[in-house]
Structure formats: C-alpha cells, structure tokens
C-alpha cells in the first residue's frame, strides 16, 4: 500500500472504509467524548486523516485497527486541547451553544453510572477498555490502535479495569448518598 499516493485509489478506499466502519468509529468517539457533534466532527476528521495518510497503511487487512489508531489519536488530541482551552466558537450551533435535542437524547443515554465512571478514569485507560470490550479489538489490534507495545497495552487494560471498578464504586457511593439525602428530606417533610 505504500509508495505512490494515488488520490483516486485513496478516495475509493476511504469511501469503502467509511461504509464499513464509520458507525463504530463514531460510537467509539462518542463514548470517548460524550458529545455527538464533537464525535461527528472527529469522525469526519479521522476519515480525512485516513485519506491523507493512505500511503502509510501497509496492510489493507489491518485497515480497521489502523482506522481506530487514527481515531484514537484524534480523540487524544482533542482531549489534550480541551485541557488547555475552553473552546468557544465564534458561531453557534456547536460547542458552547445551547445543546441540541440530539445532544440531550445522547446525554440521557450516556449518563448512567457506567458512562460517568468511564468519564472519571484516565482517557488512555478509557480508550483501552472501550476498544477491547465494546469494539472487540484483539490484543495486537489494541496495541496498534493505542500506539503502544503488546505488553504495554495489556498493562494499560489491566489498570483500566481496576480504575473502572473504583470509579464505579465511587459513583455508586455517590448515588447512595444522594438517595439517602433525598429520603431524609422526604421523611422530614412527612414528619412535619
């Protein structure tokens, strides 16, 4: 696949890749970012990068993992930028503007304990868990996507499971405390 960069060939390849994988790439980015518009922008960005870097794909059979690697980097770049700047677009209907109905639906769907716990853990661990458990990347694919060695990927995933367990426990404790407070308030009203 390396060698001369054939734009037409790259275009056809990426179109095929999009047809097969855009749903899962979008889902991965949505789970990483929890913002449908951001996820859509990043999915678009990932496929454009795939087009631009088509020549770097050595084995077409690895295209899926390669695509995840691109998407993962796009996600980490965005997360890194967000640590620097609160993105305030000049124009509306985007980040910083009123949330869309789609956003609200997505937020409801992704606002459970698990999503909140995932949001608590470091992004690289979150990525490892999502890719391994929800997107079924094999060990080697996971290592490729994360851009680390096989052993490092496994270690990252192991740490991620423990982080998720602790984050879930924290979420459940918080929820229990909130419920207790709510119950106490209700009881106090009844007593009065």
């Amino acid at each position: 696949m390396s060698g001369a960069w054939d734009r037409d060939e790259a275009g056809v390849f990426v179109e095929t890749l999009f047809a097969k994988h855009h749903g899962e790439i979008y889902a991965y980015l949505m789970r990483m970012m929890r913002d449908p518009e951001v996820a859509a922008d990043m999915t678009q960005d990932a496929f454009v990068k795939a087009y631009k870097n088509y020549a770097s794909l050595e084995k077409p059979e690895n295209a899926r993992a390669w695509l995840y690697q691109i998407a993962h980097r796009v996600a980490l770049d965005e997360i890194r930028r967000r640590k620097i700047i609160r993105f305030l677009p000049w124009t509306g209907e985007s980040r910083g503007a009123a949330p869309s109905a789609e956003h609200l639906v997505m937020e409801g769907r992704f606002s459970g304990d698990m999503q909140r716990a995932l949001a608590r853990i470091p992004e690289r661990q979150r990525a490892a868990l999502l890719l391994a458990e929800l997107h079924d990347l094999t060990g080697l694919e996971l290592a490729d996507a994360l851009g680390v060695s096989h052993v490092a990927a496994r270690a990252l995933l192991t740490r991620a499971r423990e982080s998720l367990r602790q984050a879930l426990a924290a979420e459940r404790e918080l929820e229990a405390a909130t419920d207790a407070a709510s119950d106490a308030g209700t009881t106090a009203k009844v007593d009065r």
Partner: protein, 607 residues
C-alpha cells in the same frame, strides 16, 4: 492463547498474594494466563473470599460495560456528505483545480512581461483606458491553465471568443522584471472581463504601459498607501533579512482614453522610458519629501489620469480590438526610496496601512531568528519604524479604525506548545492595550462590525518562535467595541465558517465596503502557496455566500488584492507546466468574470 501478552512479573515479587490475584483476575479477562498462573489463581480464589468477590465484581463491571453495546450511538445521516466534502477539499488542496484545467485561452502576451518578477497593484480609478480584451485573432493560442472561473473549450484563431461584459473600470499596476533583468512599472486598466458561463475562449491581458524602474533591491511585496501615492516596499536585503522601504509610486501615469487607436505602437521592454522612469533611489531626497501625506493629483485611487492617445490615430476602437497604450508623452515619475527598517524579517502578509493612511503596521522578527515576532508600526513622516510590542510572540492582525489589532498566545492558557489565543487593541502612538477577545488574527471589516479570524487553539511552529492555527475554525463573527464576540445559537455554522484547517496560516482582505471578502488559506505543507476564495457577505444574516462563478479555492500565491469590484492574485508557478499568471476577477450586479495575463516566471503579486 492469551489475546494479550501477560505482563511479565515474577511470582515471588508480589507484595501480597492478594495483589497478585487482583492483577491476574484482570489479566485473565483479556485472555489466558497460562496453565501455571491460572492454576495458582483458581486455588487462591477458592481460598480467599475477598479476592473471589473482587473477581466477581470485575466480571459484573465487564458485563455492565458491555451492555453499552445496546446503546450504540447513531452517527448523523449527513456524516458521509460532510466527510466527502472535507476529503474533496483536502484533495483539491494539492490537485490542479478543475476550474483551472482543460481550458485553452487565447492570449495576447504582455509585451514586456517576459521577465521573472511581476508585482501587481490594483488601484480603483474611474477612468477608462489602457487595456481591453481583444476579440481579434489570437496572437498566442498556446494551451494554458485556463481561467479562474472556468470555461469549456479550447480556443485559438479559429475559435470564437467569449463575449466579455463591462465592469467598473479600474487600474491594475505591477512591477515586473524584463528579459534583461531590469524592473518595469506597468499600468493597465480593466473595464471588461469574460463571463464564466458559456465561455469558449477569452483573451488575456494585453500589454500595458510599461516604464523602466531602478530599484537597488528587487521588490517582494508592495503595499500602496490609500492616500498619498506612496508605497511600502519589502525586499530581500541580500543578507537573509528584509529591507522595508518607502517609495514614491510613479506619478502622472498616462492613461489613454476609452477609445484608443488600435494602430498605436505596442510598447515593449525596450521602449525608451527609462529617463522618465525614476522609481529610483534619490539620495538627495528627504524623508519629508517621501513621506508627505499630501495626496498626489496624479496618483492614487481617485486620481484622474492623463490620456495619451495619439491624436492622429483613429478615434474608434471597436469592442475587443486590441487597444495598445502609448508611452508618449513619457510620464513624469518622481520617486525615491527611504529605508525605514532593515535587519528584520517580515512575517506573514498582514502588513497594512491604516484606513487614513497615517500609519503602517506589520509583523516582523529579527533576521537572525533570535526572537519571535512582534508588531511594528511606521508613522508616515517618520524616518524609521517603531517596535510596538516586545514579547516576541505578537502578530499584527488588522486595523480597527486607528487602533492596531494584534494577537498572541495567552500565557495563562498555554501548555506543551499549544495555546489559546487572545487579541488586543493597541494604540500605535502610546502602546496602550485593551482586550479584544479570544480569537487569533481577526481581520476587521471596514464597517467595524464583523471580523474573520481563527477561533480555536494555536500551536507553536517548528521554529519554536511563531504560532499557527491548530484546532478550530476560520470564521466570520461579530466585532464590537469589546472585540470578538461569541455569536448566539441560531446562526448557521457552515454559512460562516471558511475552513477548519489553516495550519499553514491564512490571509483575509475585505473590499472597501465590507460587502466582499477574499480569503487565502496557506497549504499546510508549503505555506508559500495557498488557495484563494471570494465570498459575498450577507450583512443581514452575518453569513458568507459563494457567488456563482467566484473563485473557490483557486491556487494562489500570497499577497492578493481586493477592491473596486475586483480581486487580483498571482498563480503559483509551474501550474500545468507554465509560469505564473496574474489573474483578475471582477464583478458587478450581473455576475462575475475574469481575465488573466500571459504566464511569467517567478511571479510575485503585491497589493
């Protein structure tokens, strides 16, 4: 077999068997542990209730995580359309523009345009003269890269030419280098352009009036004062830096009347005009001579020009008959140069005079690369420039009335080579600053109600000194006394966003009324070339519109000009195997048309 290689750690190195069990439980979820370690784990879990509970918790958490598959988010339906469009934009960034391909245009080459460097300057004037399309047989029918606005067919002597339409007259002026290496000053007037639709051929710019120039350094950029017939010239000083000079533009540039005799001899590079061509260094001149803000009656956008038609020649010139200007009488060019800065390196193409012509601002850095960019200003009449900022990371964005607008990274929101930008207004006389919003290089329109700038993050360049756009978008937004303001929801994003990829930099210029704006976005791999687009501004809705047939991502060198209903730029050299061209798009209420020059080498466009 394990899906992942087991983390290597010798069993006897564990702090406790429980820690070992916890890790192995987690590892086993990714694949086999190996018989020995799996056997140990099973034995330990059977004997350790807390560890068994932990294992159960891991399993439950995994099931909960996997249940998210049932809530797979659906991508938006237009995602492919958006992605395909983005890929197409990416693709066109380094591919010959379809609009420029496949069209043959008959041209009458510029007689004196055989040289290397060509510098064009668009000046709006009301007089008609000088240069027209030609409807007669083509002198030069070589294949070309075609016009900016498209067209379908080859042309040549046997091909009917397009029917040009009239646009408001305006001069195009440039400096070129002739075959013998000498510089020349050219002036042409354009009052008709070829329509894009149905064009089967369109003549090119014909010869304009050309006068020899004498400049010690070949100009790279010329920026004309809006008021006094002078210009700031940027030239390579030969030692790695730039010299910035002020020059008198030629006065009394002869402009033939509307109807000129077609039999008038064509001026050539060899025309003896050097005696009158004195855009030369005149040591005896004083700076006040050079910097006088008094407008010249014979130069400038509104200056009337002197006809130079030969009265003995025929007085009628049918449409598109070659109209050849004469150089007789030779114009009286009184010019001089004044170096106002040296040992610096101009950064970017944002340098500009203030609207009243009293100040000139630009971005520069030391030519030895020892520091980053700062904003410099020159007060017309002074002998040298003044450094307005000193932090080594501020760039000039544009003028907001009499205030300089500059941008820099926000030190408080900077990390790892990335930063959020801030803009400030600076009084060029006092240096007093005030905040102007979180936007990078806003270019404010003449009404001072809108601006186009980079909304997002910036990243430090490889040189470690300059900053370029990173993630975000180049977009149109409101501009108020507080500077860049975030617009509320309800305003369409796509209608105000120019691009979300401008890592190589960008250049924005408005026309006089703020109704039209041209935007150049540098190529990410080679910022010395870029793509130029023309937009009409829907002031009521704050949107950018793409007029039919207007340039849309056409290849262009930096340094375009816009004004008086026309946009001019230079095409990159080597396109379709030929040299650069000056291309001009003009518009009126009826549409957009274009005209272009014959190719030249190493063409440089200035404004």
């Amino acid at each position: 077999m394990s899906r992942l290689g087991r983390v290597g750690r010798r069993p006897d190195h564990w702090d406790s068997p429980h820690e070992r069990a916890r890790l192995r439980v987690a590892e086993r979820m990714a694949g086999d542990l190996g018989a020995e370690e799996a056997g140990w784990l099973d034995e330990h879990l059977a004997a350790c209730a807390p560890c068994a509970a932990l294992a159960a918790q891991y399993a439950a958490d995994r099931l909960a995580l996997r249940s998210l598959r049932d809530a797979a988010p659906e991508p938006p339906r237009d995602l492919w359309a958006r992605t395909a469009a983005a890929i197409e934009r990416e693709s066109s960034g380094s591919r010959a523009n379809p609009l420029l391909a496949g069209r043959r245009i008959s041209r009458i080459p510029l007689g004196a345009w055989s040289g290397i460097a060509v510098v064009a300057l668009v000046v709006g004037v009301s007089a008609l003269s000088g240069l027209r399309f030609q409807s007669g047989p083509a002198i030069d029918s070589e294949p070309s890269s075609g016009s900016t606005t498209g067209g379908d067919g080859g042309s040549g002597p046997d091909v009917a030419l397009a029917t040009p339409f009239a646009v408001g007259a305006g001069d195009v002026q440039w400096v070129d280098k002739s075959a013998n290496g000498g510089l020349g000053y050219n002036n042409a007037n354009i009052d008709e352009v070829c329509p894009a639709a149905g064009t089967s051929g369109c003549p090119a710019l014909e010869d304009a009036q050309r006068q020899d120039l004498t400049l010690e350094l070949a100009p790279r950029t010329i920026i004309r004062s809006p008021t006094n017939g002078k210009a700031v010239v940027v030239a390579d000083n030969g030692s790695g830096g730039d010299q910035i000079m002020v020059v008198d533009l030629p006065k009394g540039t002869p402009t033939p009347p509307t109807a000129l005799p077609s039999t008038t001899p064509t001026p050539t590079a060899s025309a003896d005009t050097s005696s009158a061509s004195a855009l030369a260094s005149l040591p005896g001149r004083t700076q006040s001579d050079l910097a006088s803000p008094t407008p010249s009656a014979a130069a400038g956008a509104s200056a009337p020009t002197t006809p130079s038609a030969d009265p003995s020649a025929p007085t009628q010139s049918p449409a598109f008959t070659p109209i050849v200007p004469t150089l007789s009488p030779s114009p009286s060019i009184a010019a001089a140069t004044l170096a106002i800065a040296n040992d610096i390196q101009l950064v970017g193409e944002s340098a500009a005079f203030s609207a009243d012509g009293t100040w000139f601002a630009f971005t520069a850095r030391p030519d030895d690369g020892s520091a980053g960019p700062d904003v410099y200003v020159w007060h017309v009449g002074d002998g040298s420039v003044h450094k307005l900022t000193t932090d080594g990371s501020t760039v000039f964005a544009s003028w907001d009335g009499d205030q300089v607008v500059a941008s820099r990274p926000d030190a408080a929101r900077s990390e790892g080579g990335y930063a959020a930008p801030v803009s400030v207004r600076i009084d060029p006389a006092t240096g007093a600053e005030s905040s102007a919003g979180d936007v990078w290089r806003p270019v404010i329109d003449p009404t001072r109600r809108r601006a186009i700038g980079w909304s997002g993050t910036i990243v430090k360049s490889a040189d470690g000194k300059t900053w370029t756009p990173d993630a975000g978008r180049l977009e149109l937004g409101p501009w108020t006394e507080a500077g860049a303001q975030q617009r509320g929801s309800g305003q369409g994003r796509d209608s105000s966003v120019v691009t979300d990829a401008a890592t190589g930099g960008f250049d924005v210029r408005w026309d006089e009324a703020g109704d039209w704006v041209a935007i150049w976005v540098a190529d990410s791999a080679d910022p010395n070339v870029g793509r130029l687009s023309l937009y009409r501004v829907d002031a009521g809705h704050g949107r950018l519109e793409r007029p039919k047939d207007a340039p849309d991502g056409v290849p262009a060198l930096p340094g375009f000009s816009i004004g008086n209903g026309r946009l001019a730029w230079a095409t990159p050299p080597g396109q379709d195997g030929e040299g650069s061209r000056i291309q001009i798009v003009a518009w009126n209420d009826d549409g957009v048309g274009s005209i272009e020059s014959a190719p030249g080498e190493d063409l440089v466009l200035i404004r």
